[in-house]
C-alpha cells in the first residue's frame, strides 16, 4: 500500500525529474513545446498538492483557537468571580448609594449628582474596565492604535486615535 503522505510528493518529484530529462534530450522545437505543456500540467498538480497541505492546517488552527478561547474564558470567569464576590458588590453598592445621597443632600442637582456618581463608579469598578479593554482588543483595538500628537496653540496635546 502506498503511504499517502510520502507517495504524492515522491511521484511529483519523479515526474519532475522525468520532465527535466526529457527536456535535456529534446531535439525538435515541437518536442520542447509538448514538454512545456507537460510542465504546465505538472505545475498545476504541484499547486493542487500545496493547496491540500494548507487545508490540512485548518483543523490544527481550529484546535489552537478553541484552546486559546477556553484558556482565556476560564481564568476570566474566575477573575470576575473574585472581583464581584457578594461582599465586594455589597460594599460597592453601599459606597455608591452613600456617595449619591451625600451629593443630593448637599444640594447638588440630581443630574449632576448622577454624572458624578457614574464617574465614581468607573473608578471603583475594575471589572468593567477589564471587560472594556477585552472588548476593545477583540473588537479591532479601537484604542490600541498609534498615538497621534496634535499640536495646537497652547502646546502639545497627546491624543489616542479612537478618542
Amino acid at each position: 500500500m502506498v503511504d499517502e503522505k510520502v507517495g504524492t510528493p515522491k511521484k511529483l518529484e519523479e515526474l519532475l525529474n522525468e520532465l527535466v530529462e526529457d527536456m535535456k534530450n529534446a531535439k525538435t522545437p515541437e518536442e520542447v513545446e509538448v514538454l512545456g505543456e507537460k510542465a504546465k500540467i505538472l505545475r498545476g498538480l504541484i499547486e493542487a498538492y500545496e493547496g491540500d497541505k494548507d487545508l490540512d492546517k485548518i483543523p490544527l488552527l481550529m484546535e489552537k483557537v478553541g484552546d486559546m478561547v477556553e484558556d482565556i474564558l476560564e481564568p476570566l470567569k474566575e477573575l470576575l468571580n473574585e472581583l464581584y464576590s457578594p461582599e465586594r458588590v455589597q460594599a460597592m453598592g453601599r459606597s455608591v448609594a452613600e456617595f449619591y445621597k451625600n451629593l443630593t443632600e448637599a444640594g447638588m442637582d440630581k443630574d449632576a449628582a448622577l454624572e458624578l456618581t457614574k464617574e465614581y463608579m468607573d473608578a471603583i469598578n475594575p471589572g468593567k474596565k477589564l471587560m472594556e479593554m477585552l472588548g476593545e482588543m477583540v473588537g479591532g483595538g479601537r484604542h490600541l492604535g498609534p498615538i497621534n500628537i496634535v499640536q495646537d496653540e497652547s502646546g502639545d496635546k497627546r491624543k489616542g486615535e479612537g478618542e
Partner: protein, 73 residues
Amino acid sequence: MRFLCSALHLLFLRVPGILFRAAGIARVTGRAKRRFRRALADYDLPDDVVEVLVEHFDPSTPLREMLFRFSRR
C-alpha cells in the same frame, strides 16, 4: 476526512464548552448586578436612579456592545 472530524469536534465539543464558559461569565455578572441593585435599593434611592446606576455598573455591557458591533458590520 480529517477536516470533517475536526469540524465535528469543534461543533460538538469545543463550541458547547466555550458557550458553557460564556454562560458562566454571564451568570457571574448577572448575580453581581442583582446584588448591586439590592444594595442600592436598601438605601431608598429613587427607582430611575437605581436603574441608571445598575445599567452603568453592568460589567457585561462592553462585551455586549462588542458583539453587536460585529453583528452590525
